[in-house]
Amino acid sequence: MAGKIVLCRCEDVTLADLEHCVSRGYQDIEEVKRYTGFGTGPCQGKECLAAVASQLALLTDQSPAAIPPFTSRPPLAPTPLRLLARDPGAHRFADDPDSERSS
């Protein structure tokens, strides 16, 4: 271990990484996500989003309320694909003329 302060354990994003990212001019939460990869691991930001956003507010001297969260997308938790395979929505997709044309 090398004294790293880890903010996002899924993607190994440290406080130093966040400072580096901000120093390169990426200061918006979506930019920070894309540059560092924080919040893109198995936990999808459950553990790190609040921590990174709070540190970002401090580093960029913004009021916390000015920092929005990154976009939340399904699935919110790891999901076996077999559970989705029989969704009635999937049948409708197969009947869709647009999807036939493209196949």
Binding site: M1, A2, G3, K4, I5, V6, L7, R9, C10, E11, D12, T14, L15, A16, D17, H20, Y35, G37, G41, P42, C43, Q44, G45, K46, E47, L49, A50, A51, A53, S54, Q55, A57, P64, A65, I67, P68, P69, S72, R73, P74, P75, L76, A77, P78, T79, P80, L81, R82, L83, L84, A85, R86, D87, P88, G89
Partner: protein, 436 residues
């Protein structure tokens, strides 16, 4: 070392055997693989994907990525959300040759000041491309399952007046209130057993969780345990919440939605805060009050002032169970020591020997589901993170969507239960007006 406390009233039943990293381990059918593993001395389960730092249990509630394992041939399952079954085979992943001794851990030292994967070999685009190829070989999580899934289960549909998401103190109280007012109510909870933070707090505990769960079911609520809200799809049949459970997917339609998802345990920023043996304070509480497992004999609690009362309650309960406990403010924590598990916490006033570090931060509101339903959230660090904004009745900014408990800002189990009961009654009253 973690150990089971004799005479604890955890529901245990007959002991069974599971295999963890080729060693037979005593376990109980009612507990998670993670609980059995930590009680039997398992330390490192995996390696992180970039620096190959050791990874293992942290939150014990399925919300971090610390305890991902390969379980009976299926990769990337959370050990804390898998119930022990006789004959289960647990393997670590993402390490060579093993999680405990991983040669790739050298990456951590080679890049001791960090690694910017955009500019691995600054100055040479050719070297950069090569380095990125190597990195891609080293990264990734787990290996493909032994075999493909053969059963594709039918999807179940539920149409109800009220859907409550989260079965902690707030959600159980809210669902009981709407059901008693005659509203058909379903409650989904992602844990092995509902109860949420009731099962982590020595001031409430396992019995309170079991009682309130039973009361909520008795009020007529359909309680889906081990069921996770994975997404809200507004364009689909007038809005549908997809919920995954171990054996099927549910599509839920509801007139009113109540988010009671609580907060996630978080780590705090101090050097080497990710060393194995650094657990969320709530996880240490859960092991103690729900599983009857004392996580360590010498425990350091690293805390922030906002949760001092919670930390004090945990410290008292750990001491009563026989542990030595020290409480250290975050600002004083300067590092951790230990090889495959913590052996000490470094502080401004010197080294404190310990075999467990419990991190007491403010739980981060679990607001990503409400965000998908269009609820306004605001970053409010003293409330733990992005809290859902609600009015005095519990209404969010989205029509028909309500929230209560810690997801609206950290309040703790007692206040969350009161808030849940109040918001549940408000939802029942509001939908009565719609009926007329």
């Amino acid at each position: 070392m973690a150990r089971r406390l004799p005479g604890h009233d955890a529901v245990r039943g007959e002991a069974i055997e599971v295999r963890i990293a080729d060693t037979s381990v005593r376990a109980f059918p009612d507990e998670s693989i993670a609980a059995a593993a930590i009680a039997s001395g398992t330390r490192v389960l995996a390696r992180s994907l970039k620096y190959h730092r050791p990874r293992t249990f942290f939150c014990f509630e399925g919300h971090c990525s610390g305890c991902l394992v390969r379980l009976s041939g299926v990769p990337n399952l959370r050990a804390c959300q898998a119930a022990c079954a006789a004959g289960a085979e647990v393997e670590g992943q993402n390490a060579f040759p093993s999680a405990e001794v991983d040669l790739l851990g050298a990456v951590d030292f080679l890049f001791s000041r960090g690694m910017d994967h955009h500019t691995l070999m600054t100055g040479s685009s050719v070297l950069n491309r090569l380095a990125n190829k190597v990195v891609r070989q080293l990264s990734g999580l787990g290996k493909l399952p032994d075999r493909a899934a053969t059963e594709l289960p039918e999807v179940a549909v539920r149409t109800v007046d009220v859907c409550v998401i989260g079965g902690g103190p707030a959600g159980l109280a809210a669902a009981a209130a709407t059901a008693r007012a005659g509203r058909s109510t379903i409650l989904v909870d992602d844990q092995l057993r509902p109860g949420g933070s009731l099962r982590t707090d020595p001031r409430t505990g396992r019995r309170a969780a079991e009682t309130r769960w039973a009361d909520t079911a008795a009020a007529g609520v359909e309680v889906l345990a081990r069921s996770t809200a994975i997404g809200y799809f507004p364009e689909d049949d007038g809005g549908v919440l997809a919920v995954s459970s171990p054996d099927r997917l549910y599509r839920i339609h509801a007139t009113s939605w109540i988010w009671a998802t609580g907060g996630y345990p978080v780590n705090l920023p101090f050097p080497d805060n990710d060393r194995p043996g650094v657990l969320a304070a709530r996880a240490v509480g859960r092991l103690l009050v729900d599983h009857g497992i004392l996580g360590g004999d010498k425990v350091c609690i690293v805390e922030v002032p906002e949760v001092a009362a919670d930390a004090a309650a945990l410290a008292a309960a750990l001491r009563e169970a026989g542990a030595e406990v020290g409480r250290i403010g975050l600002a004083s924590a300067t590092g951790t020591r230990g090889r495959s598990w913590v052996s000490a916490l470094d502080t401004l006033s010197g080294k404190v020997d310990c075999d467990l570090i419990a991190v007491a931060g403010i739980p981060a509101p679990a607001s990503e589901g409400p965000r998908q339903q269009g609820c306004k959230v605001v970053l409010d660090p003293p409330a733990g993170g992005f809290r859902v904004v609600v009015d005095e009745h519990g209404r969010t900014s989205a029509a028909g969507v309500w929230a209560c408990g810690d997801v609206t800002g950290y309040v703790g189990p007692a206040a969350a239960a009161e808030h849940g009961a109040r918001v549940g009654m408000n939802v029942a009253m509001a939908t009565m007006a719609v009926d007329w």
